[in-house]
């Protein structure tokens, strides 16, 4: 099997990310590893969104909902574990946990269910209405978490110990990075496979021409709903990892700014390109760190870059390097 350009580009970018971290480990720069971990988690959230936005043309400005649900799945389970209080005692006893695999599973399932419900309600609309209604759902969750005192309300929840994964010391930056990097690699692989699959072809048809899809006997709504659910699940997993990276969750994870940032990762890197969100998230974290040291207003520069990309390079940075995507064939 020969590798196509998108896959080759993906391997190069992933290798660059990994080399950066290995170099940082060798030279004793744990903070660089933490930054790379942050980028990997953002990239994972972006790949989730790219399934909906890039492949399916669903411009969701509410993906913070899934990122936040993933985050609070971690926050709620771990906070109960650290205070040794069960979540509920009736009808069955549910205890908190600080086992990462359990937290991930809960994060993925709950964000997928939320995406299924929100998708079922919002995917009847399209265009600007879809953007606004997903934004509205995001704000609903944001204000709900702000006003729910049981889990910290506005102040959020601090988790004092990083959750555990059997056989790893998750407090060691490079080991936690390894976990995030592994998930990112899996998500990237998933994206590339789905892109070439019957489902991917159908989803991109739903984005480009609904009437055509109906004429071959396929209902575009159901296709979009499945894609949106998958998208929410991936972004939810990223949320759980992000909460563990910071050992802190707050309603800010649900904010519209978070939704906007995930969209920015995708647009910077290239909408609908497998590696796009990884490139976008990498650039975002790089700018945040380098320019953030210079000025609190670093996002002015981000805005200018975003503007330049939207105006002059619609394919994002990936498009600048690789040109237009080729049709499979």
């Amino acid at each position: 099997m020969s590798l196509n350009r998108e896959t080759t580009a993906s391997l190069i970018v992933m290798a660059a990310l990994l080399s950066t971290v290995l170099w940082a480990e060798a030279t004793g720069e744990p903070f660089t590893i933490t930054l790379a971990t942050r980028a990997a988690i953002f990239a994972l959230a972006g790949i989730g969104l790219n399934l909906a936005l890039g492949m399916g043309g669903m411009v969701s400005l509410g993906h913070a909902v899934f990122f936040g649900i993933g985050g609070y799945a971690m926050g709620i389970l771990a906070s109960h574990a650290q205070t040794f209080t069960p979540l509920t005692t009736w009808p069955i006893l549910i205890e908190g946990t600080n086992a990462m695999p359990v937290i991930w599973l809960v994060a993925v399932i709950s964000s997928a269910l939320a995406a299924l419900a929100i998708g079922a309600l919002t995917l009847r609309t399209s265009g600007v209405y879809f953007i606004m209604i997903t934004l509205a759902f995001g704000q609903m969750f944001y204000y709900f978490m702000t006003g729910w005192p049981a889990y910290g309300g506005e102040d959020g929840l601090s988790i004092y110990v990083r959750n555990g994964f059997p056989g790893l010391n998750t407090l060691d930056p490079i080991q936690f990075f390894a976990i995030c990097f592994a998930f990112l690699a899996c998500a990237l692989w998933l994206y590339i496979r789905v892109d070439a699959s019957p489902f991917g072809l159908t989803l991109s048809a739903a984005r480009q021409n609904e009437a055509r899809l109906r004429a071959v006997g396929i209902d575009p709504f159901r296709i979009r709903l499945v894609a949106f659910t998958l998208s929410g699940a991936v972004t939810g997993l990223a949320g759980a990892l992000f909460a563990d990276l910071n050992r802190f969750v707050s309603p800010a994870m649900f904010s519209w700014q978070t939704s906007g940032e995930i969209v920015i990762f995708v647009i910077l890197g290239g909408v609908g390109r497998p590696i796009g969100p990884v490139v976008g998230a990498g650039l975002y974290v790089l700018l945040e760190h380098t320019l953030g040291d210079v000025s609190d207003y670093w996002q002015i520069v981000l805005g200018a870059i975003l503007l330049a990309i939207v105006l002059f390079a619609r394919g994002g940075l990936t498009g600048l390097v690789l040109g237009r995507p080729l049709p499979h064939g």
Binding site: V194, L201, S204, Q208, I223, V226, P325, P327
Partner: protein
């Protein structure tokens, strides 16, 4: 031509848009092996009738039968699954997808397999066979890799028919397949359609009268939402009502 059992049947279809009746109790049928042409002047309600039959519009009265099954309550996608292969007046393809991908999409719909996430759409044997056979029938086997947005107008019309073919439909519903074609293109497509009627009967909406009279086994004439005549081409040509309403007295 063909046996007498209709494969597609419209019974008393009526549709009003506000005060304007677009279809008035339209009854027509399509039998095995035939090309049934639907002609009529602009604004006669041909597009409305196509949409009523395809499922884009719900009739105020009347019903549509496909292969003996009442499909009036079904939507567009469900009717396509029941065997209605449609081509659009303005080519309606997946622009960024290759010719082969467009045909594969049809095969996916036909085989009911859109929810497969890990296999490769273009490496699947059953899908590939269906898609390639359809593309060969319409003469696009050399252009598998071409993005459909880059096809010529005539090639897009051929691909429209190719995608409909992948559905292995019970009937074809073709809305002006010759629109905008060169004389050479129209001649080529006429040949394809003439053979295609043996695969499945065709309900053909067409403006080009040379094509209609060359191809049709039967012709129905729609004027102001109403069918004023149905019959073989010679009878239609001779029908006084048709001559005055549509063809014009000067036409032989």
């Amino acid at each position: 031509m063909g046996d007498a059992t209709p494969i597609l049947e419209a019974r008393g279809l009526s549709k009003r848009f506000g005060a304007i009746p677009a279809s008035r109790a339209v009854t027509l049928d399509l039998r095995a092996g035939e090309i049934h042409a639907l002609i009529g002047p602009n604004g006669a309600g041909k597009s409305t009738l196509i949409k009523l039959i395809a499922g884009d519009l719900t009739p105020d009265e009347g019903s549509v039968y496909l292969g003996g099954l009442d499909v009036t309550a079904l939507g567009t996608a469900a009717r396509a699954r029941e065997g209605l292969g449609r081509t659009f007046q303005i080519s309606s393809l997946i622009p960024e997808a290759s010719v082969l991908q467009n045909a594969t999409l049809g095969a996916l719909g036909r085989l009911g397999q859109p929810y497969r996430f890990f296999s490769r759409a273009l490496r699947d044997r059953a899908l590939r066979r269906t898609a390639e056979a359809a593309l060969a029938t319409v003469g696009l086997e050399e252009l598998h890799q071409t993005r459909s947005a880059e096809l010529s107008h005539g090639q897009r019309r051929q691909l429209e028919i190719g995608v409909a073919l992948t559905l292995a439909p019970k009937v074809f519903l073709m809305d002006e397949p010759m629109a905008g074609l060169s004389a050479e293109g129209a001649r080529q497509l006429t040949g394809i359609l003439s053979d295609l009627r043996r695969t499945a009967p065709i309900l053909l909406v067409e403006h080009d009268m040379d094509v209609v009279f060359a191809l049709a086994d039967r012709i129905s004439v729609l004027v102001a939402g109403e069918i004023i005549a149905t019959g073989p081409p010679d009878a239609i040509r001779a029908d006084p009502a048709v001559r005055s309403a549509y063809l014009g007295e000067a036409t032989p």
